[in-house]
């Protein structure tokens, strides 16, 4: 049941852990992550990353897509990897 990964590598594919749901909440004007009896309100960057976490895109694809979308953002690679590492440590996502 455990996948004991630390920093994600570029060829890994993240997906939401079963039972986790990512959705837009109009009342909170934010994306949230819903899970058993809990909810995390996400900021814009976390939301942009999680929109691409679909169990198909590799980490490298996610970085490329966001780089193309936000060409002015500096160090976007590190931010994305950092977020995915945190999301994994929080058990929000799994890697395959």
């Amino acid at each position: 049941m455990s996948d004991n990964v630390k920093t994600p590598s570029l060829d890994q594919t993240p997906r939401l852990r079963p039972g986790y749901r990512f959705q837009w909440e109009p009342a909170q004007k934010a994306h949230v992550l819903l899970y058993p009896e809990g909810m995390v309100k996400l900021n814009d960057s976390a939301s942009e990353i999680l929109k691409l976490v679909d169990g198909e895109r590799k980490v490298a694809d996610i970085i490329d897509t966001l780089k193309a979308r936000f060409p002015a953002a500096a160090d976007i690679d590190e931010d994305i990897l950092g977020f995915l590492e945190t999301a994994h440590a929080q058990f929000w996502i799994q890697f395959t």
Binding site: D3, G19, R21, L34, P36, E37, M39
Partner: protein, 382 residues
């Protein structure tokens, strides 16, 4: 609006994010720490399917995202799958909070089809004998084990809930081992909170300080072990506030995030609030919009204008909101008092006395008042 002078703007009240639907007070178990009201047997007609759906729609429009189906035992409701389906379609994250009694593989599959997101099963102990004694049922434990396995087999995330107290807390290592073996995603090791039936049975339930400290230490050892293995099972240890020096920030603040609707449609800011001497609004008579933002009951303890000393001048009032209104009422007779758990409360001696009692209590499980219709009716009449 009037324009004489000016007043500071009121903090803007956000929407309810959590809706707890207590579908029924009926339950096949008789747990002596049940949080349902003591006089549940005397309460009114249950809401119909259509009435519940209206509640779900209104709360969802306001912003509620988490929905808990609870009770009593929600499986008693024959329309549960339909209610789950409606809620899921509205966009809720749907949680079934059940004892597992009355659950079948067929229902687990049907709920999945309806869109149920998560199942929480409560256990009374880690072994059949104590579990069944507490539940007041001979077959409860085996059924729970079977259903916990089936829940995982159907791909649900599963939280197991153990209400701990002086009769089972010493088995905490076995409880945790059992939860790991059942592949629980999270375990709530929730020491009894003393409301409803638990308050009635407090002397027979409150663990001693030594019991509690041992349980917390063992839980921490398991946490370290699980973390080292990269295991995702999360252990949530809820300390009984009777051993704290400061009160809990109950419900994240009165009428702040949480909205509970009882079987007969009474709307409450927390599931224990019904025991307060406040007339709470009913969803049959008012919209949730009115209930949440405008009703007397939901506004009664918002903000801090209601606070007397020692809360009023306390620099921690924004952190804990003076603690729990129900506990203040139960222990002092006045719901606006500081929660006596707080060492600053003039009534803190009640808590100290309860702790002392826990050192010497000899009450056995079979001496507790079990939560059932017969006892409840006696309490109603009393």
């Amino acid at each position: 609006m009037h324009n004489s002078g000016f007043s500071l703007p009121e903090p803007i009240q956000g929407p309810p994010l959590w809706l707890l639907a207590e579908l029924t007070y009926k339950c096949p178990l008789q747990c002596p720490y049940c949080s349902n009201p003591l006089d549940f047997a005397g309460h009114g007609e249950e809401l119909t399917t259509a009435e519940w759906v209206t509640v779900f729609k209104q709360a969802r429009e306001m912003g509620a995202a988490q929905l808990g189906f609870s009770g009593g035992e929600p499986l008693v409701r024959q329309d549960l799958a339909a209610l789950i389906g409606e809620a899921r379609n509205l966009g809720y994250y749907t949680n079934l909070i059940t004892s597992g009694i009355g659950l079948t593989e067929k229902k687990i599959a049907a709920f999945k089809d309806a869109g149920l997101d998560h199942i929480q099963i409560s256990f009374q102990a880690s072994d059949a004998e104590v579990n069944n004694l507490l539940a007041g049922s001979q077959k409860a434990f085996d059924q729970k084990l079977k259903m916990a396995r089936a829940v995982k087999a159907h791909g649900y995330p599963m939280v197991l809930n153990f209400v701990t107290h002086r009769h089972n807390i010493d088995q905490i290592d076995r409880i945790i081992e059992l939860c790991i073996a059942l592949e629980a995603d999270a375990v709530e090791l929730a020491t009894c909170q003393f409301y409803g039936w638990a308050e009635l049975n407090r002397a027979g339930l409150l663990p001693s300080r030594a019991q509690l400290e041992r349980a917390e230490r063992i839980t921490n050892e398991y946490r370290d072990k699980l973390a080292a293995e990269g295991h995702h099972c999360k252990l949530i240890f809820v300390t009984p506030d009777y051993y704290e020096e400061r009160p809990k920030p109950c419900m994240g603040g009165w009428g702040s995030l949480f909205l509970s609707v009882t079987p007969d449609g009474t709307a409450l800011p927390c599931h224990s609030a019904r025991q307060l001497p406040i007339k709470f609004p009913n969803v049959r008579e008012h919209s949730l919009q009115h209930i949440w933002y405008d009703s007397f009951g939901f506004n009664r303890f918002r903000g801090d204008d209601w606070m007397p000393e020692p809360c009023r001048s306390c620099d921690e009032k924004e952190r804990d909101f003076g603690g729990c209104r129900c506990q203040a009422y139960l222990l002092t007779g006045d719901a606006s008092q500081a929660d006596p758990v707080c060492a600053k409360s003039a009534h803190h001696d009640v808590i100290l006395a309860a702790r002392e009692e826990a050192e010497t209590s000899t009450l056995a499980i079979d001496q507790l008042s079990f939560r059932n219709d017969r006892t409840s009716r006696l309490i109603c009449k009393g």
